[in-house]
Subunit: 372 residues, 2 copies
């Protein structure tokens, strides 16, 4: 899996990551396709709005329809009609956040499905097996996402178990051309633990490095503080993936700190609850002030929602709980995120990322977009 850095600007980098299913332009934002679908939109539309890669959730897919079933049906790419690259997480985070009656041992985790209460087990070996059955291009090592807040001792114990699991993941990983395994850096907010984690992972050796355990409630300032000492300690020539992040401002700040990849449910989830992301902050399309507004969300946005529909129409669709409203706003939000990433890639290539970030902050600070 070749990672080529075409240009740098400060700590930021832009380039390409080559997988068996295609090339990812970095910095990249990956729309989340939890259960084999990027919620409310078609894979064709996701591709057309500029996404190179999507994320699938091992936890959800192992429970339903099961990894074995997807493998029998030709793998996740074929199953969900997404021919491009797919990254899968390890399942660890969702087991911690969604299940009951969890029991963790050195071996792995047993838990009850949040869907039907059935009992399951995840271990580093089983996580690697599932991700191979899905046909994932970028596989995550199995880890425990350290809770927040955590004492130094708790964070250390948790991180060290994740490092032992990372080693077992590496051993169990089924190598193939254009497939890669990423190790996940843990260690909470503690610099010594993050550096210890990086040392352990680089000693094992991975095709890329994920930064886990952030965006779990610590706030943007603290997240940036952790990134400030974590990102530079990672190998320069491998992609860096900040898991589960984030808001548009998080992405800009993290790219400036040397991060190459992101995923987050925010643009898709907000697309179903009525929050639109724009150049000038967010707006809630359900707000009554949009009810007579003939303008699009953003006249500069190239998405289907902004090209053909008014705020008044979108407001109406959300009030009436119409599915097409969720589809349109999801398309808008994903387009905004992809445009933001494309803007950062171009700015890095031109050596103008600082100017880009200043303008981004100014525009966002302007508050709601184009008030009447």
């Amino acid at each position: 899996m070749a990672f080529n850095i075409a240009a740098t600007d400060g700590k930021a980098r832009t380039g390409t990551l080559e997988t068996a299913h295609g090339v990812i332009r970095t910095p990249a934002f990956m729309p989340v396709g939890t259960a084999g679908t990027v919620k409310a939109v078609s894979p064709d539309a996701v591709r057309e709005l500029g996404a190179d890669i999507i994320l699938g959730n091992t936890y959800h897919l192992m429970l339903r329809p099961t990894a074995e079933r997807i493998a029998k049906l030709g793998g996740l790419h074929k199953f969900m009609n997404w021919p491009g690259p797919i990254l899968t997480d390890s399942g660890g985070f969702q087991v911690m956040s969604l299940t009951k009656l969890r029991k963790m041992t050195e071996e792995g985790v047993t838990f009850q499905s949040h869907i039907d209460g059935s009992k399951h087990e995840l271990t580093p070996e089983r996580s690697m097996e599932i991700q191979a059955l899905l046909g994932s291009d970028i596989v995550m090592s199995f880890d425990e996402c350290t809770p927040f807040p955590a004492t130094h001792e708790v964070a250390a114990d948790s991180m060290r178990m994740s490092m032992r699991w990372a080693k077992r993941s590496r051993t169990a990983f089924q190598q193939a051309p254009g497939r890669g395994l990423f190790g996940i850096v843990q260690g909470g907010v503690y610099k010594d633990l993050r550096l210890e984690s990086i040392a352990a992972l680089t000693d094992i050796g991975f095709e890329g490095y994920s930064i886990g355990g952030l965006a779990v409630g610590e706030g943007q300032e603290e997240m940036f503080r952790v990134l400030d000492f974590t990102a530079p300690a990672l190998p320069h020539d491998k992609p860096r993936y900040l898991m589960g992040v984030g808001k548009p401002g998080d992405l800009v700040g993290a790219v400036m700190r040397g991060v190459d990849m992101f995923d987050c449910v925010m643009p898709t989830r907000s697309g179903r609850t009525g929050q639109a992301f724009t150049r000038r902050g967010t707006l809630n399309i359900k707000n009554a002030r949009h009810v007579d507004d003939h303008r699009p969300i953003d006249e500069e946005c190239p998405c289907a929602a902004c090209k053909d529909y008014s705020r008044a129409y979108l407001n109406h669709l959300f009030k009436a709980n119409e599915i097409f409203g969720y589809t349109l706003l999801t398309l808008h939000n994903l387009t905004y995120y992809q445009q933001l990433m494309a803007g950062m890639r171009a700015a890095i290539a031109a050596g103008e990322l600082t100017d880009f970030a200043i303008k981004f902050d100014e525009d966002q600070a302007n508050g709601d977009i184009d008030p009447i």
Copy 2:
């Protein structure tokens, strides 16, 4: 509004109906866009799968976002981004089926909104005003949908009031090039009343004639019996629209009896509940037997769902309550309906509608499509 009959085959006719927003090929099936959206799909997709015209509901739109608001925003075509022809109903049927605290007088109907309990009034004049504000191409006269079952006396009284309302609708209708007003035939299951209704309507004169009060529980056999004496009594040179119908077999039988236009929520509603219409009857995609089935719903269907997705995937989406499943199955069902209409148009033009209908019945009787 020019109606051109290009060919006939028995009582069936095929041709075109020309409106200010484009040409409708008949016999035509109109997808229902109740609240300014054909539920779960984009207008572009509806057009691409072959629909020439959609239906909007006066009752829903007058309550939310209101006809005045839609007019201020440029009319329903612009509001919902559907540049083609739109037919609107009169609101009468929904007032009867959805509202509480209704009070009907010779003047019209007062009722409470099913959304927020607010009080509203519909009269022939107000219905014409609303449909003009929406910018409808094909307007329905205001009527009372006679309940089923109804005695001869009840059906007669109801029909005669609808005829007086039809006269007031004609007077209040705002004529414009390429716009037309349809009168609605009532009279329940009684031949004398249907013929009396037709005489009253043709005496007033309309651009087309709707057949109301059917598909309300009387069954297909009884509906066909009523059509047998109703359709031939209508003016030959005007379009005939059978309101709220129906299942695929209803459409074939009604076209053979001389009907030109249809609308029904069945393909869209079933698309959200998991029922797929096919050449060989219906199948419930939620059924467990589809869970490992790699085949599309119908390998001969040109829709997006059948082109790119397996039954197993659709089954998974419905089990997981994923919006994209509703979108895909709605596209499939609407495509099936449009293909059925296109097939009938071609068969009439070739003088082969009887053969078409025999093959249709055989195929449907084959039961579930391609069992494993």
